[in-house]
């Protein structure tokens, strides 16, 4: 009986959480199109997010490209198809690994920090203070973060794609003995604009997911240090699941 009761409670809590998130997104769009833009704040967040994420993005790109080249070589050498390595590296990176890995890393790096910052503001009554100062917290807290992250993600993915291809190039040329010109020619020849753009579209969607989920987790956090901790964990877990789920849906649509 208790098991059924707990199951029911969890189900109701899940449905109520989804409902609140949908309402939150609806309110975001309502205030986004009826804005009071704080340009200074928007620009500040964009720069903050951009600078703080570059090192992690560069590392993600270079190691992904290097591992892809190594693993592809192990498999393709059995069928004497080593020449396909540049194509595999560039297609895998631009279509899938670039946007997904960037999304997951940014969710851990930026999403968690957004959730923790906003949750701390809730716990220390700064959100209430905003209301008493006639400031809409959607305009002040949510819009700058959503805009900054949604616009920064395509740049991050482009960087991961580029650095990843360079990582594959380094391993292929200096470790596996590929001809350097041939590697680059194969990479460029096989890459179509649609491959790149599909990854960029995914990046926009993932950026929106991470920022909106992180802001929501922060604003609806519980009380005290535990509340801040839970908000941070929830933002990363929910964003990651939604990134993987939406990646499948988008791949179905594009290809």
């Amino acid at each position: 009986m208790i098991f059924i009761e707990n199951l029911g409670k969890s189900f109701i809590s899940l449905i109520s959480g989804i409902g609140k998130l949908i309402l939150f997104i609806a309110l975001f769009f309502r205030y986004f199109f009826k804005p009071k833009f704080y340009l200074k704040i928007n620009f500040k967040y964009f720069i903050n997010i951009f600078i703080s994420s570059i090192p992690i993005i560069a590392l993600t790109g270079i190691f992904s490209g290097m591992v892809l080249a190594l693993q592809s070589y192990t498999g393709f050498s059995r069928f004497s198809a080593e020449s396909a390595i540049p194509n595999i590296v560039v297609l895998t990176l631009t279509r899938e690994l670039g946007p997904v890995l960037t999304g997951l890393m940014i969710s851990a790096r930026v999403g968690s920090s957004i959730a923790a910052e906003i949750a701390t503001m809730r716990v220390t009554e700064q959100i209430d203070a905003l209301k008493t100062l006639n400031t809409n917290y959607y305009n002040y807290l949510v819009t700058p973060r959503v805009l900054a992250l949604t616009l920064a993600m395509p740049i991050f993915v482009t960087l991961v794609d580029f650095i990843g291809v360079m990582g594959g190039y380094l391993v292929s040329v200096y470790k596996l003995g590929f001809n350097e010109n041939l590697y680059l020619v194969n990479t460029i020849n096989f890459l179509s604009l649609n491959d790149y753009l599909s990854g960029i579209f995914k990046a926009l969607v993932f950026g929106f997911i991470i920022s909106i989920v992180s802001c929501y987790s922060g604003l609806y956090s519980g009380k005290g240090a535990f509340g801040v901790g839970s908000a941070t964990t929830n933002s990363v877990v929910v964003s990651s699941i939604l990134i993987l789920f939406s990646n499948y849906i988008l791949t179905e649509i594009f290809f």
Binding site: L39, M121, A129, T132, L133, N134
Partner: protein
Amino acid sequence: MDIEIKNLEKKFNDNEVLKDISLKIEKNKSTIILGQSGCGKSVLIKIIYQLLNYEKGTILYEGKKNIDIDKFSMLFQYGALFDSLNLSENIAFTDYMDNKINYSRKVKSLMADVGLDASNYHKYPSEVSGGMKKRAALARALYKNPKVIFLDEPTTGLDPINSDLINDLIIKVIKKRKITAVTITHDIKSAIKTGDNFYFIDKGITQEEGRCDKILSTKNKIFKSFITGARY
């Protein structure tokens, strides 16, 4: 501004925090709301400020049900200053956000009023003491020239000397600017010093009311035990 509250009730899920609260906040007077920690004092002023909804009861602002909350201001328990902004940007928050640049004179004058040295103008909240944060938060609350100011435990977390300084400051500011003040506290000494009228809340009900200078001569058993710290 007069504010009248009649039979107010507030619940959080099944937890009935306020059961039957009735009180009157008189214009240009300092009203103190006393009560134990967790008795719903902060909830009450957030309801009056329209930051929280309530289930039952009536709140009349100068006889009307609705009010422009721009006439209100609040000093939060721990200041609630924005960590990413310096003290001057915190104090002039609305003007700073609207990119108005000529707020420095007003900010400096307010800083002087609350006893903050001008050298703190560019400092961040993390770089100043708890007492200075409270002063900056009070300056922010006064920046928009409110008609009513709500003070949520203004001396919490401060040592006795700083508490007394903050109390003096509150009296000075309220008298100088002719503001209606509503202060929440469980500190009897502060209540007697800064208040005109008081209300004592216990178990969600208004248990006692009167003039602050008569607090110590109360006959109410529950209030008496609250003052003396004895359990009942």
